[in-house]
């Protein structure tokens, strides 16, 4: 039962995922699945439990209960297998600022046991596509935030993971860069990488294939953006989210 299982092309399957911190329930019986190659948006307000869930899926944190498989492996027992197959970009900027672009690529490629030649090849390819090949030897601290963010994403998918987890990747980034960043996400998805992205920018939700919306630790809605807008009779994802949040508040009052 420990071998990798692919069920109907789902790379992430969670059934009744629960995470408790003492009396506080951060994730309340989350059930969802993510298909191979899709861009899955994981939406919610700050403190809704997004980061807790993503940390569990990445193996940084252990769930309290529930059955969870990532890339076909059980998160309780096969975290090492999972770790080889995923990429991760955290909320906080996560490159080494005192190292150069190339040194960061070489280091992060190295911890995934990639050969130097392969790292060089892919790094050149990625930098070329970003049009910053000449910045290869620039120290990260000297680069503008937009470029750093794109580099952080490039580094996260350098080893061609099956799934890349992006935890609020566009926080504090200007709209133009956000746009370019999402283009990079599409390109990655086109090469077969599954993208699991959390955000609280509702306009970004429109770019996802499917989104789940979390409110207070629960998944309140899960569907394609079009379908959600239809269901909730809303003009934009922002309205969908507000309606959901309001409904939840009323339930709380009752």
């Amino acid at each position: 039962m420990y071998e990798a299982k692919e069920n109907n092309g789902n790379v992430i399957e969670a059934v009744d995922l629960v995470k408790r911190f003492g009396n506080f329930v951060a994730n309340d019986r989350l059930t969802f699945s993510v298909q191979r190659g899709e861009i899955f948006g994981f939406l919610g307000a700050n403190g809704a439990g997004k980061t807790t869930a993503i940390r569990i899926l990445c193996g940084l944190s252990k769930p309290t209960s529930g059955q969870i498989r990532v890339a076909g492996y059980d998160v309780y027992t096969r975290t090492e297998k999972i770790k080889q197959r995923i990429g991760y970009m955290s909320q906080r900027f996560s490159l080494y600022e005192d190292l150069t672009v190339w040194e960061n690529f070489r280091f992060f490629g190295g911890i995934y046991r990639m050969k130097s030649a392969l790292i060089r090849e892919r790094a050149d390819q990625m930098l070329g596509r970003l049009g910053i090949l000449e910045l290869s030897d620039a120290v990260i601290a000297s680069l503008p935030p937009g470029i750093r963010q794109k580099l952080a994403f490039s580094v996260a998918i350098l080893h061609k993971p099956e799934i890349v987890f992006l935890d609020e990747p566009t926080g504090g980034v200007d709209p133009v860069t956000r746009r370019q960043f999402w283009e990079m996400i599409y390109e990655a998805a086109a090469t077969g990488i599954t993208v699991f992205v959390t955000t609280h920018y509702m306009d970004e939700a429109e770019y996802c294939n499917r989104v789940s919306i979390m409110v207070d630790g629960k998944i309140e809605a899960l569907d394609t953006p079009e379908q959600l807008k239809k269901t909730y009779n809303a003009g934009s994802m922002n309205d969908v989210f507000l309606k959901l949040a309001r409904r939840n508040e009323e339930q709380m009052k009752e």
């Binding site: 990445c58 193996g59 940084l60 944190s61 252990k62 090492e80 770790k83 080889q84 995923i86 991760y88 970009m89 955290s90 909320q91 906080r92 900027f93 996560s94 490159l95 080494y96 600022e97 005192d98 190292l99 040194e103 070489r106 280091f107 992060f108 190295g110 911890i111 995934y112 046991r113 987890f165």
Partner: protein
Amino acid sequence: MKRFIIKEFLHIFRDVRSMLILFGMPLVQVLLFGFAITNEIRDARVAVVDAVPDVVTKDLRNKLFASGYFTGGDILAGQHEIDERFRQGDVKMVVVFEPEFAQKLERGENPVVQLIADASDPNAAKLLVNYATGIINGYNRSLGTYPPQAVIAEPRMMYNPSLKGVYMFVPGIITILLMLVSAMMTSISIAREKEAGTMEVLLVSPLKPISIILGKVTPYVVLSFINAVSILLMSYYVFGVPVKGSLLLLLAESILFILLALSLGIFISTVANNQQTAMMLSMFALMLPTILLSGFIFPIENMPAVLQWISLLMPPRWFIFIIKSIMLKGAGLTYFWKETLILTAMTGVFILASIRKFKIRLD
């Protein structure tokens, strides 16, 4: 692993502060201690007891005070005044000529000059006596008729006759620097990864926690070791501090202590979430006890009983004892196997504790 270590070295070499602590510190500390001593020698006040002055004693006195090492030259009324002058602290050494000095020399007997030094400052006392002896030997050579005619210099150390604590500063500095570089720098560099968010990325990667720790720690082992060796070399060549015992044993014990300090550093970093906290914790939990309670500056025997008990828990205390024994007494493992065992046990405890802590953090 290899890339991890390379990356860690890059962090260190690009950070001016790290480089200053790593390489400036040993140099400055050794030189500071060294020069503090030479300054004292240059201006040392010396008094004289010369009951019956004659040509020879006057000649010797002139030679001593012309050397530049000694100042003062007060003539004391007699031996009874020596103790009083030492207690007042304004005199570092008293030169006592025996009576009938010139006549004895004439007769072919060997008149005696006593060099009484205040050995509560053992470094200074020893150097003063050495200088004075050198000058007197120079005078003997100038007499030319060796052997019958010669003045005998007879050193006497007061207050601390065995010169306990001589060269104490070298073992002390080695201990402090190993503690500083190994524990403080490691804890800060791990805390920096947490602060920057890169630690999460490392934890999500297939790297095992033990590889992360080893990768972070290896450069500091290497640099600490280089530091220890360079302090030894510098103190040997600049200040003539000897290593009487086995150099190999000394280095082996140093590595043991480096491991201990590193495991302390890792332990601190599992508690501290940012560089500031890591630094403060290392300062208060490691540096101050190392300086104050290890017997480096204040003798443990003179401490209140409570502090003596606390000092038993201080790793530096045991390490200072060990290197002191090797460097100054030339002792071997049979002499301090107990202390070595204590250090080994402490290292084991801290490594286990930090691995546990590190794992818990992952949940």
